[in-house]
């Protein structure tokens, strides 16, 4: 079976800094896979390479069998990427933004409408979708961006801190939506998060990353057993040696 993501010996160097240093990772189709790690561990760089924004210094990265360096346009057709620090076009309305994004994935106008309706539902912004994005709060913008990422039902959703800036209620709602999309539409989700509870709640499989390498990997249950812990936070502390 073709893997959703297959990374082997990935290295990314910025100047003198090795942001990713020999990383290996396999994500199965339909899986919700979480990457956790401290700041500067290489999570965002790895996700950006998978999203075809950065090129690896060495190593291979494939998305559903397509190489991110030699076949980036094929990869982009399958993915939808939500960066951690992301914005939307302030002078467009929420609805115009969803329509703009949908038009790159839809085959015809009917499909654009169906994507936009889906996006409107996920965002939960109701009538506010008719207002310009510059009038939105940080949380509202994030809801719109999450909706944009999932509404097209991509083969692979790459979510960098998906619930960043959201209140408890909406963060909970977004997690439910991610689970629903993964199970109902077979969307593979690769996400990074600082929120261990979120990863524990959402992900079937977790990778712990430190200094640009995967230092531990498994299902949350496997990791709890191995490190005799009750939650991922404890596992992370023990694995990283901070405990």
């Amino acid at each position: 079976m073709v893997l959703a993501v297959e990374i082997s010996n990935l290295v990314k160097v910025f100047g003198t800094k090795r942001a990713v240093d020999g990383l290996n990772l396999k994500v199965n189709d339909g899986e919700i896979f979480g990457i956790i790690g401290p700041n500067g561990a290489g999570k965002t760089t790895t996700l950006r390479i998978i999203a075809t924004l950065l090129k690896p210094t060495s190593g291979n990265v494939e998305v559903f069998g397509y190489d991110v360096v030699s076949e980036p346009e094929s990869v982009r057709k399958l993915i939808s990427y939500l960066p951690e620090e992301s914005g939307a076009y302030n002078n467009l309305s929420g609805l115009e933004y969803l329509k703009f994004m949908a038009s790159f994935y839809a085959k015809n106008r009917e499909e654009i409408e169906s994507f936009v309706q889906e996006g409107a539902k996920i965002s939960g912004l109701g009538e506010r979708l008719n207002d310009k994005i510059k009038t939105y709060s940080k949380g509202m913008k994030r809801r719109l961006l999450v909706a944009r990422t999932l509404m097209t039902k991509p083969r692979l959703a790459i979510l960098d801190e998906p619930t960043s800036g959201l209140d408890v209620f909406y963060a909970h709602y977004v997690r439910d939506v991610i689970r629903e999309y993964a199970s109902k539409y077979g969307v593979t989700v690769l996400l990074s998060s600082h929120n261990m509870l979120e990863v524990q709640y959402l992900c079937g499989k977790v990778a712990l990353i430190n200094s640009g390498r995967i230092v531990e990997e498994g299902t949350p249950e496997e990791l709890f057993r191995k490190y005799q812990s009750n939650n991922l936070e404890e596992v992370f502390i023990k694995v990283s040696g901070y405990g």
């Binding site: 910025f14 965002t44 924004l53 090129k55 960066p83």
Partner: protein, 432 residues
């Protein structure tokens, strides 16, 4: 997939035109600015015109002879302006009166004026024009005084001639030769003096480079804003992961910027035209010269070629702006980055406004011709006078430059440097 390029262009135009800074600064400001300037000029012109319709003069008559009588009679019947004259005995009283009243000036007819002229000695009439401000409008006042004295001089001259040589036409004696002026230009002859022609063309020749410069500046600002806005609002990352060719994104950005820049130029031209019509409707009389007889007319071919030159130049400018602003973190630093490009547009514009390049030393000519936008300006000027000799060279050089810059812009847009390099004025740093 729905046409990605159209979607990108529409979004680009919406984003730019809905930005109040761009809408007001680029599209509406020329209309507002020139509208206000034109209105102010119209108001001051009409008040100036009113003031010329009637003029108050203090006359110091120290002569009390036949010339001063003739002068009194002359100003009472002066055809173009109604002259209200107040007569006083000496200059001191006249200056006091000038201070007290709003008279436009003083005319002094000195003692023995009539006696001198009768004896065949040239007399003098002095004028003191009161300048209430130093505005250009006050020149009209001075001109009225001058024309009064000149007209009186001519009448007096004719009177003297007819009394001395009664058998001859005094008009003929004072002016036996009439000049006929023709201009030869590039193989064509027209019945007008070269001063009249250069005067008429001066405005066009001066304005053309300015309009081109504004259009190019405007295009550059649009393109750099379009790129920097994506970075500032953190939308670029998402945009570049969409299933659309990066080159399409670049072309979408350039086209959107081009549209808004052209819109800005059109409103500029409208505003400028209104302003110029305020000027020409006033002092500057419209000259009825058949410029087409001199070959100074733009043919359909000329318009087409001018369109090609403009288009290539604007694309080069947009690509240049993208290449410069692609590393900027926000709109402000992008606009600072592109301000360095302004100089390569400004230099040839200023030079061509005042100097004929061909009169410069060879080395200066080469340096100026190396600047691509020199070719835009030179080509436009040559098209205006119907000289297409150097046009293939101009268009060729501009095209090569544009292709090279487009290539650089496309390369930059498709590499990861767009995320990893950040320029904050002179500082460069790599960011994770």
């Amino acid at each position: 997939m729905v046409n990605a390029l159209t979607t990108l262009i529409i979004k680009e135009i919406k984003e730019l035109l809905r930005d109040p800074k761009i809408l007001v600064g680029t599209v509406l400001m020329p209309l507002i600015m020139f509208g206000i300037l034109g209105s102010i000029f119209n108001i001051s012109m009409s008040s100036a015109r009113e003031s010329f319709e009637s003029i108050s003069i203090i006359v110091v008559d120290e002569d009390n002879g036949w010339v001063s009588s003739a002068f009194k009679n002359f100003i009472e019947n002066f055809p173009t302006t109604k002259v209200n004259a107040f007569y006083v005995q000496n200059l001191d009283i006249a200056l006091e009166e000038l201070k007290r009243t709003n008279a436009s000036g003083i005319i002094v007819l000195p003692k023995d004026l009539s006696q001198n002229i009768s004896k065949g000695v040239r007399g003098e009439i002095f004028s003191y024009v009161s300048l209430s401000t130093l505005s250009i409008m006050e020149q009209g006042k001075a001109a009225t005084f001058q024309s009064l004295i000149e007209a009186f001089n001519r009448i007096l001259s004719l009177q003297i001639i007819s009394s001395k040589i009664p058998s001859m036409d005094p008009g003929f004696v004072s002016n036996p030769i009439a000049g006929g002026y023709y201009t030869y230009f590039r193989g064509n002859v027209v019945n007008a003096s070269p001063q009249t022609i250069t005067g008429t063309l001066y405005l066009q020749m001066m304005m053309m480079p300015i309009i081109i410069m504004i259009m190019l500046f405007s295009a550059m600002t649009m393109a750099s804003t379009a790129i920097a806005l994506e970075k500032e609002t953190k939308t670029l990352e998402t945009l570049l992961t969409l299933p659309v060719n990066r080159l399409t994104i670049l072309v979408g950005k350039l086209s959107g910027s081009l549209f808004v820049a052209v819109l800005g130029t059109v409103t500029y031209l409208f505003g400028f035209n209104y302003y110029m019509s305020s000027l020409t409707g006033g002092f500057i009389e419209q000259q009825n010269i058949d410029l087409s007889a001199l070959g100074i007319t733009i043919t359909p071919l000329g318009y087409t070629l001018m369109g090609i030159v403009f288009f290539i130049s604007i694309v080069a400018t947009l690509a240049l702006a993208v290449s410069f602003s692609v590393f900027s973190e926000d709109v402000r630093s992008a606009q600072t980055s592109i301000s360095y490009i302004y100089i390569i547009i400004l230099v040839p514009t200023l030079i061509l406004m005042f100097i004929d390049i061909n009169t410069l030393p060879m080395i200066s000519q080469i340096l100026i011709y190396l600047i691509p936008f020199t070719h835009t300006l030179v080509a436009t000027k040559n098209i205006l006078i119907g000289d297409y000799t150097l046009l293939p060279l101009n268009i060729g050089y501009l095209t090569i430059f544009t292709i090279a810059i487009l290539y650089v812009a496309a390369k930059l847009f498709t590499t990861e440097k767009i995320f990893t390099t950040k320029i904050s004025f002179k500082r460069r740093k790599a960011a994770e």
